[in-house]
């Protein structure tokens, strides 16, 4: 780019006709691209419309009782969603509780502490955790993690619980490892890489001068993170957490394997429960057309509204922070 740039480019001998070859296709191509983009919009719209239409008979039949009743009885055709909704919210909230500190720790480790040699292997390992299919998490959770968890964690806790205490109530259940808490732990492992990856990207957007001046004033790493880095990325970090929550809420297969699939309102963290997604996965293929399948689709609509709100908030918050 030195000598060549100074000499003017050779002038073409004779400019060709103005209209370039094949310019007529321009319009067609633009319409094709526009159509593809609009197709995505229509797909999302189609999901909403089909869920509303499919679920309508259930809303019409049960009214607001659909959201408050926990009775789910396919034989008598009585369907209430509150058990599945509560199961979804509780398992996701618990998953977030476990995943949040861990993923912050991982992101901070990768950005601030990790020896450069280890950065790539550890980063890849966390990425692989995100790549493992949900069904593999489910099998591992049911056949490997749940038995271990029942023997090493559940039994001792249940044994040590004082009879009659509140602690005994919330840890009551069959100690077979399957249940809401186990599902939450597996969910936490599944969403952890997503939150950690987004957090890491956010931490990397902090200008080095900002962090270095804090270090220059004598701050420890902890103080830099707490007082400089976290406030700097606060909005985006909340978005990252919401993104993880969105994933946990809609996660299907892993939860179906290990939550125990019992209807009704969960009363204990070791009890079997169900989530919206696991109920649909378990019952929809066998549900006869009519009220049962309409109720399952109505559940789907509830899940859509919850996840859409969470994901939309997440995108708004992350988008404001950085272009992720």
């Amino acid at each position: 780019m030195t000598a060549a740039a100074d000499t003017p480019p050779a002038v073409p001998a004779a400019p060709r006709a103005r209209s370039a070859e094949g310019a007529g296709f321009d319009r067609v191509f633009e319409v094709l691209c526009f159509g593809a983009a609009t197709f995505l919009l229509l797909a999302l719209g189609g999901i909403v419309v089909s869920l509303v239409i499919g679920g309508w008979p259930a809303f019409a039949r049960f009214g607001p009782g659909f959201f408050t009743s926990a009775e789910w009885d396919p034989v008598q055709e009585i369907f209430g969603a509150s058990g599945a909704i509560a199961g979804t919210l509780i398992s996701s909230a618990l998953a977030l509780l476990f995943a949040l500190p861990l993923s912050f720790g991982i992101a901070i480790f990768l950005v601030e502490l990790c020896p450069p040699v280890l950065r790539r292997p550890i980063g890849t390992a966390v990425e692989l955790l995100a790549g493992i299919p949900s069904i593999v998490y489910g099998m591992w959770g049911l056949f490997v993690f749940a038995p271990w968890f029942a023997r090493r964690v559940q039994m001792p806790i249940m044994m040590s619980a004082e009879p009659g205490s509140l602690w005994e109530t919330i840890t009551a259940g069959v100690p077979n490892g399957a249940g809401i808490l186990t599902a939450s732990i597996i969910l936490a492992i599944m969403i952890l890489p997503f939150i950690a990856a987004t957090m890491r990207e956010l931490l990397l957007t902090i200008p080095p001068q900002v962090r270095e001046s804090a270090y220059g004033l004598g701050s420890t790493t902890f103080e830099v993170i707490r007082k400089v880095s976290l406030p700097y990325i606060r909005t985006g970090a909340i978005g990252a957490v919401m993104l993880g929550l969105g994933r946990a809420l809609g996660e299907t297969m892993a939860v179906t394997f290990i939550i125990g699939n019992a209807h009704g309102f969960p009363t204990s963290i070791f009890a079997s429960g169900s989530t919206i997604a696991s109920t649909i996965a378990n019952e929809f293929a066998e549900a006869p057309p009519g009220l049962h399948s309409a109720s399952l689709i109505a559940l789907g609509l509830v899940l859509f509204i919850i996840t859409f709100t969470v994901l939309a908030l997440a995108r708004l918050l992350i988008g404001r922070q950085a272009n992720l």
Binding site: C33, A36, A37, L41, I47, L128, G131, T252, R315
Partner: protein, 291 residues
């Protein structure tokens, strides 16, 4: 001195605890990954071997899913999964590349572009089981039958937003000068996009497609009530089609040991496929970034 030493000690303790926590958090993730991969290998390789011992079980790739107690393999599920994933990818690549191009090259900061970009991001992480319900409502129920075709459409709908997003991102990274140079030479816009922009961004676009493929090849939820399952080897995508994830789901939760053995073998097969495609995609992306 003591007035200074006291806060210094608490600061040092806080710092130590914090650093230890970050190390432990990372360790937890790595141990979890190692534990999952270890049981997958242990159980999965058991599924690859003959039940009585004595080398690899050739049935796995040559015979269809068995009735409980009889010999069989996963041939029909592997074939069905491949057919559906390939069909889904053809549709998703077409939509994803074009939609990503529109967002990057035509829409830019327009209002409609922002709406599509936002909704695509939501669709990207929407629960896949809802996509399954949607396809059931529009393809399975009206046509009165589960089909591999419906399964492929559901998978395409999950892959397309991933490809759209990555395509848009890599196209935006291409320098404006590249576009200007091409247009200045008299190339029409579509030719500029085809021959210049796409060509220079193809590594990134391929990475996006590979990641989408990795994502859908393990998807189970949207197939449960679209493609359903099929006990027999079939190449007819208008009929219910067997696929690995649903076979794994059914077999893993069954009470038969030989079915569970096949489920673990299938899980290992899927995990190895997904993880190796992911790693290849990442390596491609890194090479592109460092080049």
């Amino acid at each position: 001195m003591t007035a200074v030493a006291a806060p210094r000690l608490s600061r040092r303790l806080g710092e130590g605890a914090f650093l230890a926590f970050c190390w432990i958090a990372t360790l937890v993730a790595i141990v979890a990954l190692a534990a999952i991969l270890w049981s997958l290998l242990q159980q999965g390789i058991g599924g690859f071997l003959k039940p009585g011992g004595g080398g690899l079980d050739p049935n796995l790739f040559t015979r269809s899913t068995p009735a409980p107690g009889s010999e069989g393999g996963l041939l029909n599920a592997i074939v069905g999964s491949l057919m559906m994933c390939v069909a889904a990818m053809i549709g998703a690549v077409l939509i994803g590349f074009l939609a990503g191009t529109w967002l990057s090259e035509y829409a830019r900061e327009s209002h409609y572009g922002k709406v599509i970009r936002f909704l695509n991001d939501v669709l990207l992480s929407a629960p896949s089981i809802l996509v399954g319900l949607f396809i059931y409502e529009i393809l399975v129920a009206p046509l009165k039958g589960f089909s591999g075709f419906a399964g492929a459409v559901a998978l395409a709908l999950i892959a397309a937003p991933v490809i759209t997003r990555t395509t848009e991102d890599v196209l935006k990274l291409q320098p404006t000068a590249l576009r200007e140079a091409s247009v200045a030479l008299g190339a029409p816009v579509w030719k500029t996009i085809f021959d210049v922009i796409w060509k220079s961004a193809r590594g990134g676009m391929l990475t996006g497609a590979l990641l989408a493929f990795a994502r859908i090849s393990g998807e189970t939820a949207p197939l449960l009530f679209t493609s359903l399952n099929n006990q027999f080897l079939s190449f007819d995508m208008t009929k219910p089609t067997a696929n690995l994830p649903v076979v794994i789901f059914n077999f893993a939760l069954s009470a038969y040991d030989d079915w569970r053995r096949l489920a673990w073998a299938g899980a290992l097969l899927i995990a190895v496929t997904v993880l190796s495609v992911t790693v290849v995609a990442r390596i491609l992306a890194r090479e592109k970034a460092s080049a």
